[in-house]
């Protein structure tokens, strides 16, 4: 077990929120076809409110802090916020489309000791990337920014969201990342829009195309091991929990709402009304999320994939129950191994349904 994994497990066991994802804005200068956000500003946290939240998070033991959005650089105070976070000695990661990063910004990011900058790149073909972001020349600007950041010696990761419009481009993006000397990560998850509109789910790549992704050793490591049939679950597996959401990780929206994860729209409190640590420690919703063990899952506890499935409790919650199956993960488990899931078998399906109705994140109403 690596030291990092060991520390993560320790935080999990102690219930310390070691990692937080903070969206500082939902505003954006791109209009990506798959984006689930409402880009209007409905009352973002002020600079002072964010600094106060950072003080509280440092006190609570948060170490890994991800700033994301929206596009973080649309906030004029973003560098002030990052500087404040770094003075509090957070390990800072920034997620951005990078189109506003030039040499000066890259230099400042390096000076501030930011750990990683993750940048969305959808294709190695400019016309495909720009068609997804709907911002002309965004590919050119993003790639230029990656070069500026790399020249500063910063660690950069290209995040490649996979969808129908770019499904054949992931190898090209991977090659581009190698040429630029940066890391590469791929995500095939498309989530519904904040207003509940599920039309974007039609952009998800068909499950039938997943085996091609799963057979790429550069993405999955040991392909034979990755695609091996599931092993029968042990007692320990059944006593286990889904993921770090609500255990050692949480998400805070630009309006101060706290959720177990960015992909788990269960409201647990708002930092404009309560202290962060009070929400973390005492929210009934957080406690409920923490209580769920594999053996409690309504369908998945009897599934042969239970010990190896990437079941996301947030996506399951969006399907109707945080203890239920997450169809997107059923799909991945099935196409990874060829073994049907319990969720498929109970519905008499020979292959998973690729889209299911989901609910999505909504701001909590905050009284003035």
């Amino acid at each position: 077990m690596s030291l990092m994994t060991e520390v993560g497990q320790k935080a999990f066991n102690l219930g310390v929120p070691i990692a937080v994802h903070l969206d500082v804005t939902y505003r954006c200068n791109e209009r990506c076809v798959h984006c689930y956000l409402d880009h209007d500003d409905h009352g973002e946290l002020t600079t002072a409110e964010i600094k106060d939240a950072l003080d509280q998070m440092a006190e609570a033991g948060v170490f890994f802090l991800t700033f994301s959005g929206g596009e973080v650089f649309l906030r004029r105070d973003f560098f002030e916020i990052v500087e404040y976070a770094r003075r509090l000695m957070f390990n800072v990661k920034i997620k951005t489309n990078a189109v506003m990063i030039h040499e000066e910004e890259a230099r400042r990011i390096r000076e501030l000791g930011v750990d990683t900058v993750q940048i969305s790149v959808y294709s190695h073909r400019p016309e495909v990337h720009d068609a997804i972001t709907k911002l002309p020349h965004s590919f050119e600007r993003t790639i230029k920014a990656i070069r500026y950041l790399s020249e500063q010696g910063l660690r950069v990761t290209i995040a490649n969201v996979l969808m129908t419009a770019n499904s054949s481009d992931h190898l090209g993006v991977q090659k581009l990342a190698a040429e630029l000397g940066v890391h590469y990560t791929l995500d095939p998850t498309i989530t519904p829009m904040m207003d509940g509109d599920t039309s974007v789910l039609s952009l998800r790549i068909p499950g039938e195309e997943l085996p091609e992704v799963f057979s790429n050793p550069a993405l999955v490591g040991n392909q034979e091991e990755f695609c091996a049939p599931p092993k029968p679950p042990s007692e320990e597996d059944l006593e286990g929990y889904s993921c770090s959401a609500g255990h050692s990780f949480c998400y805070i929206s630009p309006y101060g709402d706290v959720f177990p994860c960015v992909q788990f729209p269960l409201p647990t409190g708002n930092i404009r009304q309560q202290k962060f640590l009070d929400i973390w420690n005492f929210s009934p919703q957080m406690k409920e999320v923490r209580s769920i063990q594999a053996k409690d899952l309504t369908v998945c506890s009897s599934c042969s994939h239970v010990s190896s499935c990437t079941r996301c409790p947030g996506l399951a919650y969006m399907e109707g129950s945080m203890r239920g199956p997450s169809t997107a993960d059923c799909e991945k488990s099935f196409y990874r191994t060829g073994v049907p899931t319990a969720n498929m078998l109970r519905q008499g399906l020979s292959k998973p349904r690729s889209t299911v109705p989901l609910i999505q994140i909504r701001p909590i109403a905050v009284s003035a």
Binding site: L3, A11, V16, D115
Partner: protein
């Protein structure tokens, strides 16, 4: 370098947080990750750039952990040298200005 004039300060490139009495430290420049035990954490937290290492060891290690001063000093110097080699601590024989991002 004579022992009495070693000054240590935390680098501005690092991230750090205490977890159950132990300090997690990460250097963003090369992603090296450490956890420090309680004694090392006490030295790390006292590394303000202007308190000599010998005083830090006397006030924050010997008093709190009841250890032999000479042994503690030797262990502290070894620890400081290791963290310095990873860019986590800055070491000088002159007082150092505290680094801020």
């Amino acid at each position: 370098m004579p022992e009495h004039c070693i000054y240590i300060a935390r680098s501005s490139a690092i991230a750090a947080r205490a977890l159950a009495g132990e300090m997690m430290v990460m250097n963003s420049a090369d992603s090296t990750f450490f956890t420090l035990n309680e004694v090392a954490t006490a030295i790390f937290q006292a590394a303000d750039g202007h308190t000599p290492l010998r005083e830090i060891v006397r006030d924050h290690v010997c008093e709190q952990f009841q250890v032999d001063p000479e042994q503690a000093q030797a262990d502290a110097e070894q620890f400081v040298a290791e963290l310095s080699s990873h860019g986590i601590l800055l070491v000088s024989n002159q007082p150092l200005a505290a680094e801020t991002p």
